[in-house]
Symmetry: C3
Subunit: 227 residues, 3 copies
């Protein structure tokens, strides 16, 4: 529960400092609080809605005040936190790992098969960030080229599911999941790792067209006409 509260607090704080970029948009205090709640709670809400449960964040009086407080604190002390960027990045990676581990474990214990459990776990980890961007009406950051964020969560949650399938206890698997997520995320930030941009095969061998084949052909290194 303390870990949960901490994760929600860090999420909210992140959301509020992110929202601070949009100074020209005239977000008011309530707007900042809403972004904070959405960023901190979003993943957990989506997880519990998908699993058909009443969201855990709504079963205690503590979560909402922590999220609102962290968001308003993040707004006021934005200058401080932007100087502490490295600390925040590490804490945020920890949050990503924690939410991923909690979400995947919850999905597995709700009886979901392996792949959906990975999906629900990863969505728990990154859902807040998606909801934040949708509320701010900006393109969803994690779908775009940038330091691996969702991928870190995917690596962690996949490992957790594999370990559990191999008979490792949940606790150990969860710790490995968090450690791996944090490691991948921080290495990605340090070394600017990112996924390739979307691309299409610019030239399809004639063969493929004729056969209407569905398998991806290896692209011949030929010059292409269009940009």
């Amino acid at each position: 529960m303390w870990a949960d509260l901490l994760a929600i607090g860090i999420g909210s704080l992140q959301g509020a400092t992110f929202a601070a970029q949009f100074r020209d948009r005239r977000l008011d205090l309530l707007g900042v609080a809403i972004i904070g709640i959405a960023t901190g709670f979003g993943g957990g809400l989506l997880r519990d809605i998908l699993l058909g449960e009443v969201p855990k964040a709504l079963l205690s009086n503590w979560y909402l005040p922590v999220a609102v407080g962290a968001a308003l604190g993040g707004m006021l002390l934005e200058r401080l936190f932007s100087r502490l960027q490295k600390v925040i990045t590490v804490l945020d990676a920890l949050t990503l790992g924690l939410f991923g581990a909690i979400g995947t474990t919850a999905a597995l214990s709700a009886g979901l098969p392996a792949i959906p459990a990975i999906f629900v776990g990863s969505l728990s980890a990154v859902g807040g960030s998606i909801l934040r961007d949708m509320l701010l009406s900006v393109p969803v950051a994690l779908m775009h080229v940038g330091s691996l964020y969702a991928v870190a969560a995917l690596v962690g949650t996949t490992t957790l599911v594999v370990l559990v399938a191999l008979g490792v206890t949940i606790t150990v698997a969860a710790v490995v999941c968090v450690a791996l997520t944090v490691t991948v995320r921080i290495l990605a930030v340090l070394f600017h790792w990112s996924l390739p941009e979307q691309r299409r095969l610019e030239r399809l061998p004639r063969l493929v067209i004729r056969r209407r084949s569905r398998s991806a052909p290896t692209p011949a290194p030929t010059p292409t006409a269009d940009a």
Copy 2:
């Protein structure tokens, strides 16, 4: 039920007249109906999904036709309704209060603690407006500086929860909630009350940085370098 239908109808009508601003976007009749349904139903849907129930609006044949009818009526008679702006504002404030009271009561009777009940109640009240803006892909209005809207709902639902905790009957508490919400909302519109815009403390005392303190320092009234 009549109050519910009325509230949904007014919500839909509001949504359709709001959508009318986006004339250059080529919204078609179905788009107007969807915006109407989302605005009228949104809050109730979010409430019931969070409480893990099948949305009440889906349990009767009446709600959807009322929402669609109100939306298309609102579209056709937009000129009429823009002349009746004051009536609409009052009716909308009433809707805000009603949805807030219904949502908070439903959350309390589902066994939620006080603060989550206030959250669910307020979200019931303003959820339609949020969903409307997300569907139209415009920034969510209620997060921005403007006449108190969500705050009116928050004041009403908080009062309801406090009164119930003090032993007042639900009915009386709900009436007070609606009355208070309507009053705050209308006074806010009349006197242009609004929440302050997001801001950060421009200058943090050196002390705070050194100590990594988390508490907000009182900002010294000093000139700041950046805009």
Copy 3:
């Protein structure tokens, strides 16, 4: 189940080729996969969440890999698929019909009345497309003037509900629903059928204003002052 997987695959593929329009946005591979999952799964997720069930797509290991594979395949072979546009349009119409029929049947068997069942069925059919546009932060396509898409689903699902009410078996009604949806959609694409844009009655007869009538008056064919 095979039909279901096929429908999800086609939906994902569609989503990915749609996302390919936004080349300047720097969507990465994960972004394409997310858009694919959202387009393929969105309708089913919304359906199951509204019906208060754990989404069927999360109960099997097959759905997610199919959606991701179809999305990445669609991205790589976009040139091939844009040449096969006609095939894709037909397959997509089939998907629309299948999701509509599955959604309406599920809603009816969950005990929903006729009109909400039509709503849930149509939302199943078009939900993926709505979610896709919200994630990409572009205006929701189906709310705008264009070839009938949601209307085709509405026609199919309404017919299904009417037939079931008349005592026709679910199987026959579902087949008719799919056939009708496909027909309407394809005819709409061929003949550029579309719904009228939103409009208001530019001139309200004085009578209406005085009586505060709610019924839509027949507009007199008079010249109007504003554009």
